[in-house]
């Protein structure tokens, strides 16, 4: 049986002490090992940003992509080898800004991926600029009078664009987050897990954690997980912040509908001698 350590390389994380990413890393590596997956069965595509630097200490088939470009790479990995467990990890900038279009279409497409969005409401690696989820009025280096743009709600977008699994976690609630990850990975379809991730550098370290703690509450056991509209309303709450699985439905995955991989994954198909005669007919 693989252990959590099997999913960690020897490289020491470079995240800031107290960064929310540590909790997320712990939750994910625990989830993967508890699901009985071997590192070689998992492919994970990383964005650029603090989360993306984590590519170096995740031990699996890693692909450190460009900013905003995790989902197209991850989608194709799944399409080409659907035997793999495929994850993508991005921040609020890569996920909702630079990669916004891919996000919309990944939700529609419903390939069996787990998409983790680290939401810290900032571009932290580039030293704290405004992000698509920065709150109105929040002052940053690039919003010196306070952000004037309405913050984007990733969960609501995922719900309207057709994602089949929509959840929110909190980086400090490691055990709860691990459970969300496990559910997301087991879900057959496009699973979005947005994680509220305290950035301790561009927010006051104590204040940010206290604020989250005071606002966060867990969705109750009886939450109607099959109701998209109710989930949408819930995801819009701002005074308090619900975490858990907001929505879940079964819909055929993109790859399950591909005629070319009904028997064997593309990556396992060998190239044989190909007879072109049938293709030439239409050109006669």
């Amino acid at each position: 049986m693989p252990t959590q350590k099997d999913f960690m390389t020897d490289i020491k994380p470079t995240w800031c002490p107290g960064c929310g990413n540590f909790g997320m890393w712990t939750a994910l590596t625990q989830a993967l090992s508890e699901l009985g997956l071997e590192p070689f069965e998992v492919a994970m595509v990383f964005d650029i940003g603090c989360n993306g630097n984590g590519a170096n200490w995740h031990r699996l088939y890693g692909f450190h992509s460009l900013h905003g470009r995790t989902l197209p790479v991850a989608t194709a990995i799944k399409l080409a080898n659907h035997g793999l467990t495929v994850l993508a990890s991005s921040g609020d900038g890569g996920g909702y800004g630079e990669g916004g279009n891919h996000f919309l279409h990944a939700c529609r497409r419903n390939a069996d991926l787990t998409y983790i969005v680290h939401n810290n409401e900032r571009y932290s690696l580039t030293t704290g600029q405004t992000s698509p989820t920065t709150k109105i009025g929040q002052k940053t280096k690039t919003a010196i009078q306070g952000s004037q743009e309405y913050p984007l709600n990733g969960l609501q977008i995922a719900l309207t664009a057709g994602a089949t699994f929509v959840a929110r976690g909190f980086a400090d609630e490691v055990s709860h987050l691990k459970d969300l990850y496990k559910q997301a990975i087991k879900h057959s379809g496009f699973a979005v897990v947005e994680v509220l991730q305290p950035c301790v550098v561009f927010f006051d370290q104590k204040n940010i954690r206290d604020t989250y703690r005071s606002k966060i509450y867990k969705l109750e056991q009886s939450w109607p997980v099959m109701d998209r509209l109710t989930a949408y309303k819930k995801a819009g709450e701002t005074e308090r912040l619900p975490i858990g699985v907001f929505f879940k439905e079964e819909r055929p995955t993109f790859e399950s509908q591909q005629p070319t991989i009904q028997k064997v994954p593309l990556a396992r198909q060998t190239i044989g001698k190909i007879n072109l005669q049938p293709f030439l007919k239409e050109f006669r």
């Binding site: 390389t9 490289i11 071997e38 590192p39 070689f40 069965e41 492919a43 595509v45 650029i48 630097n53 590519a55 170096n56 031990r59 699996l60 088939y61 890693g62 692909f63 450190h64 992509s65 460009l66 470009r69 989902l71 197209p72 790479v73 991850a74 989608t75 194709a76 990995i77 399409l79 080409a80 080898n81 035997g83 793999l84 279009n101 891919h102 919309l104 279409h105 591909q258 005629p259 070319t260 991989i261 593309l266 990556a267 198909q269 190239i271 044989g272 001698k273 190909i274 072109l276 005669q277 049938p278 293709f279 030439l280 050109f283 006669r284």
Partner: protein
């Protein structure tokens, strides 16, 4: 028809009128009768209305370009008449639709004009308006004294599977036009005849987009992803249509950025992958090119050029993107550009593109243009099998024997062994950050390693260059005048060479990267070199000078949205002092 004679037929009307379909039927009927054909369409970027022309050159000898001089023109609208009349040669003929055209004979000296009412003839033939182009095909057949049976057979085959009535209507329309022309047009004033031979082998009519599609299937490409863009779109249509039979997965994503990243993702899993676009779409793919280069993921990209910048002339042709592709992507890394000169060359070059991408783990371009992508050329069927070389992909057994696997191991050739996700002992990080041999991110604090990794990627170049197709010489070994070109200028130049003495042509099918010794060996001893390019700045000549120091003596450039015609090359050559045969 004399052995070397080329006859050209042209029809002009409104977009959506079906001239292209009708014209292709005539072309296929010619191929069935043992003739060689080359066609070309001009059309605007809209669905209905506007001027559309279809042009077909026909010969009893192999043909590699479309000619301008037109023997028979069918003008269905005033716009078509005004635009196309200058191309009709003295002694040629024009069939004019009197419903819409003001038929003046002034300015048409030396050409026979036959006015007809398309509306009336369509009613007389008792066929739907959509079939009226076949009346024109029937007339054409009569005037060229071609075999109407071949037209009938071709219609039956092309429309196979369609409603019986559609087939019957089209055949009736063609036969009606045939009989009408025989009765009403004075055939003796039109001396151009097409011979037919029933012994002809089965030819195919293909564009370079078609042969790239066939080449991708024959190469074992399993993943094709593309966002529609003229003139590359028909590759997407072909491969999508064949998907279930070929086993290739074909995806249309949200944009070109997704397209190239998906191709990279699929290739990372060990599957042969390709994308196709035009210059504007490739502009969006730029960062993906750099990602493929840094992660050393094999990738084949088809780029069908059209005139830019920006939206440019979306449905016209140009060779304007060569210098751009040679330098595209940020940072420094090797890439290959293959530029087939015709549909036939595009087939084996597609096979080569996949092998080079796999062996050297680099991006490889197949560079086409609208002219090549959409012109149908008659050719013997393509059935060659490719030798498939997947490069250094480690098997599970080989991995077991390794003490430690490093994805980016520094080697003599710069090429490191690949593993694919799912292999137990091949774990690695494919990294867009600069990385060490294992794939882990490094910083500028490791300047020696950074220098080594840049050198590793560039080290592939000296091993790559000898694998590229060498410049190919056409015509005499020694000549007063040497023409130098790449890609689609080959066809018109080769046609012109048929008429010229003391002129030869070097065709470069791999315009990037260029080898100094190979180019010097090819071009040393040339008395006068003229770069023939379908662009405004002589991009290849500039790259050649920069890479090899070889300077051309002059440029023949064209950038008006059309390809060169053989007649233009011929005229330029004779003006430069070359003699005709």
């Amino acid at each position: 028809m004399k052995k070397t004679e080329v006859l050209t037929w042209k029809i002009g009307g409104i977009a959506g009128g079906g001239q292209q379909v009708a014209g292709l039927i005539f072309a296929k009927a010619c191929a069935r009768g043992g003739l060689y054909t080359f066609d070309s369409s001009e059309y605007p970027s809209l669905i209905r209305g506007g001027l559309v022309t279809y042009r077909l050159s026909i010969s009893s000898q192999p043909l590699s370009a479309i000619y301008r001089s037109t023997n028979l023109l069918i003008a269905l609208t005033q716009e078509a008449l005004d635009h196309c009349v200058p191309d009709v040669i003295s002694g040629g003929a024009i069939i004019v639709n009197s419903d819409t055209c003001n038929v003046k004979t002034s300015g048409l000296k030396g050409r026979t004009v036959w006015p007809i009412s398309v509306k009336e003839l369509t009613a007389q033939a008792n066929v739907p308006a959509l079939a009226n182009n076949m009346i024109m095909i029937g007339m054409t057949t009569a005037l060229f004294r071609y075999d109407i049976m071949l037209i009938r057979e071709t219609i039956k085959e092309i429309f196979q599977g369609k409603d019986e009535k559609v087939i019957a209507d089209n055949i009736r329309a063609a036969e009606f036009g045939y009989e009408y022309a025989r009765k009403n047009f004075k055939a003796e004033v039109f001396p151009y005849h097409l011979p037919s031979s029933r012994r002809a082998g089965a030819k195919v009519l293909v564009t370079a987009n078609d042969t790239v599609s066939l080449g991708a299937v024959a190469s074992g490409c399993k993943f094709f992803v593309a966002y529609p863009m003229t003139p590359a779109t028909s590759i997407l249509h072909n491969l999508m249509g064949w998907s279930e039979r070929s086993g290739m997965m074909v995806i249309q994503p949200e944009d070109e950025i997704a397209a190239i990243h998906m191709a990279i993702g699929a290739s990372y899993t060990g599957v042969r992958a390709m994308t196709a676009t035009s210059g504007g779409g490739f502009a969006l793919m730029n960062e993906g090119l750099a990602l493929a280069a840094m992660t050393e993921t094999p990738l084949v990209i088809v780029e069908g050029q059209r005139p830019g910048p920006a939206t440019g002339l979306p449905t016209w042709t140009e060779q304007g993107d060569l210098a751009y592709l040679a330098r595209a992507g940020h940072g420094e890394f090797p890439r290959v550009i293959l530029a087939p000169g015709d549909a036939a060359e595009a087939y084996p070059l597609t096979g080569l593109a996949f092998n080079l991408a796999d062996r050297f783990q680099i991006p490889v371009f197949i560079l086409l243009d609208k002219y090549l992508s959409e012109a149908h050329q008659s050719h013997q069927p393509f059935t060659d099998h490719f030798h498939i070389d997947r490069g250094d992909l480690l098997t599970d057994q080989q991995l077991l024997k390794l003490k430690e696997y490093k994805r980016y191991l520094i080697t003599k050739t710069g090429i490191s062994s690949r593993t694919i996700p799912g292999q137990m002992d091949g774990l690695h990080l494919a990294n867009s950050d600069e990385h060490d041999e294992a794939g882990y991110t490094i910083e500028g604090f490791s300047p020696e390693l950074r220098t080594k990794m840049v050198a590793k990627r560039l080290q592939k170049l000296p091993y790559l260059l000898p694998e590229l197709p060498k410049p190919k010489l056409y015509g005499p070994k020694n000549a007063q005048l040497t023409l130098l070109g790449w890609g689609s200028t080959k066809g018109p130049v080769l046609e012109a060479l048929k008429e010229l003495t003391d002129v030869n042509y070097f065709h470069v099918t791999a315009p990037w990267p260029l080898s100094q010794p190979i180019m010097t060996k090819a071009l040393s001893g040339c008395k006068k070199i003229i770069a023939v390019e379908n662009n405004a700045t002589g991009q290849f000549a500039q790259l050649l000078k920069g890479q090899t120091g070889i300077a051309v003596d002059d440029y023949w450039l064209k950038h008006d949205g059309a390809q060169f015609y053989p007649e233009e090359i011929l005229a330029k050559a004779t003006a430069t002092g070359a003699s005709k045969k």
